[in-house]
């Protein structure tokens, strides 16, 4: 099952589960990003998260169930896949009577680690997953409501499935593909770090949920979530707020979520045994840290990401090739983007530069750099490169 599920594409630096691109992020980022979207009161953020989860996980499950006719086998595949992805443990014994439970939750772990407490059910990703599964089993769209949540102190998360009127969820997929980048004159900074070795090692590793359906790695709980999910939530969040003239507010919030987690998560990563084994032996100077972190990000399936230039410690540039955010934008939207789409990359760029070059505690380091994206390939149809520039604002 493992070999059938996981593959990777070194050209695009993508990890794939059942042939769908997945992005590996940590539980804190996932929780913070979902909270950012759902807790924006001006829009129906929960709907964005639910619908995007239903669509994207639906594609994974559809592929996973190809050629499988037995309902019980489909249910087992769904349960195993959920755990494999690192999302937790689903109990699907009573799905036919409209009840599903989750014994553990990647998102709740992230929520508690990030915010300290949970004040409402937070497992919209799981609800979306169950929606997708129920549709694949029965052929009719359903609504799924989380009625109990581990984060609220319940023994397990519980979900209620109910009838839903309307058509199955669909998204317009444009079929756009980026032309191959002209990389003349663009190359990674020279460093002591063998980035390709880091990429190869990580791509060769399957990230698999343990007996709790969680993936403890790099001092974090990781999960593989469809690239389409991240892109749809980000695109729709910005679009919905743009309708009420809050476009920049939306972009800033998503960048902030990524910057906070970029700093905190990578702080955990660089203190992990995995980093010690894979990257630390190669480090000789400060910029090597950034090169190493960018290489790890690449190995997590984000797209090729590398440090291009360090002018001085106040100004440095990174490049991404086939970044998942720019590729995703053009996948779902016909026209070029109005402005920069790589909001996660902007946040993480600022976060890792702050971690490396700023001084003091994490709180003191935070906010001391800004990352702009002077070139985003989603804003044109040429090439596949995006440029990110980190500048000191202290």
């Amino acid at each position: 099952m493992k070999n059938k599920m996981y593959s990777y594409d070194k050209n695009y630096c993508r990890r794939k589960i059942y042939d769908q691109n997945v992005i590996v992020h940590c539980h804190r980022y996932n929780a913070r990003m979902i909270s950012t979207i759902e807790d924006t009161t001006q829009i129906d953020g929960k709907k964005i998260v639910l619908d995007s989860a239903e669509y994207s996980f639906g594609n994974i499950l559809k592929t996973a169930m190809t050629g499988v006719s037995s309902k019980s086998e489909k249910i087992k595949i769904a349960s195993d896949t959920y755990s494999y992805l690192g999302l937790g443990k689903l109990v699907l014994d009573s799905i036919d009577s409209g009840n599903v439970q989750a014994a553990t939750s990647h998102i709740v772990s992230g929520w508690l680690a990030t915010f300290g407490n949970v004040t409402r059910p937070v497992c919209s990703i799981t609800a979306g997953y169950i929606r997708a599964l129920a549709y694949l089993l029965n052929g009719t769209p359903v609504e799924v409501t989380e009625t109990k949540c581990i984060g609220l102190g319940h023994e397990q998360c519980e979900f209620l499935i109910s009838e839903k009127k309307g058509k199955p969820l669909e998204e317009n997929v444009t079929g756009f593909t980026f032309p191959k980048a002209d990389v003349t004159g663009i190359k990674p900074i020279e460093s002591n770090v063998n980035s390709e070795h880091i990429h190869n090692t990580l791509f060769d590793m399957e990230f698999v949920g343990n007996d709790e359906g969680l993936i403890p790695m790099f001092n974090s709980y990781l999960a593989s979530i469809p690239e389409d999910f991240y892109n749809l939530v980000s695109i729709k969040y910005v679009e919905e707020l743009d309708k009420i003239h809050l476009r920049h507010f939306a972009q800033k919030r998503l960048i902030y979520a990524a910057e906070v987690c970029g700093m905190n998560t990578f702080y955990g990563i660089i203190n992990s045994q995995e980093w010690e084994a894979l990257v630390k032996p190669m480090l000789r100077d400060t910029k090597d840290m950034l090169v190493g972190m960018a290489a790890v990000a690449t190995g997590l399936g984000w797209g090729k990401f590398f440090l291009e230039k360090v002018e001085d410690q106040n100004h440095m540039s990174f490049v991404t090739e086939y970044s998942y955010e720019s590729v995703g934008y053009r996948k779902f939207r016909n026209l070029p983007a109005k402005d920069s789409t790589c909001l996660m990359f902007r946040g993480v760029t600022a976060g890792i530069v702050e971690l490396t070059y700023s001084s003091g505690t994490l709180q003191e380091k935070f906010g001391t750099y800004d990352a702009i994206e002077p070139t985003c390939c989603a804003t044109s149809s040429d090439g596949s490169l995006c440029k990110l520039v980190a500048v000191s604002i202290k």
């Binding site: 680690a113 090692t201 060769d204 403890p216 001092n219 974090s220 955990g268 203190n271 045994q273 084994a277």
Partner: protein, 92 residues
């Protein structure tokens, strides 16, 4: 010569705030992994990291097998920590 006692150092971890590296007594390291390995599966990752996962903990180390990073899982209770500390002869 007095044997160096077991001590621990806190580790930054998003998995659990009470994550530590335990530096076991040299003469206990092999025994530690042997006893756990008899009951639970010992895995070695592509990175050369050795790990054993129990109901309450994830134990992980590099090829030197010491120190051991100990991550507490969701099911981990105070009594599990007490039992673990007793097993490795650790007192705060």
């Amino acid at each position: 010569m007095k044997k160096k006692e077991t001590f621990r150092v806190r580790v930054v971890s998003c998995i659990h705030p009470e994550t530590y590296k335990y530096f076991l007594r040299d003469d206990f390291v092999d025994k530690f992994w042997k006893i756990l390995g008899e009951k639970y599966e010992k895995k070695v990752s592509v990175l050369g990291l050795v790990s054993i996962e129990t109901e309450a903990f994830i134990f992980q180390s590099n090829a030197l097998l010491n120190p051991v990073q100990v991550m507490r899982k969701k099911k981990c209770k105070d009594k599990d920590v007490e039992e673990f500390h007793k097993f490795i002869n650790f007192t705060e």
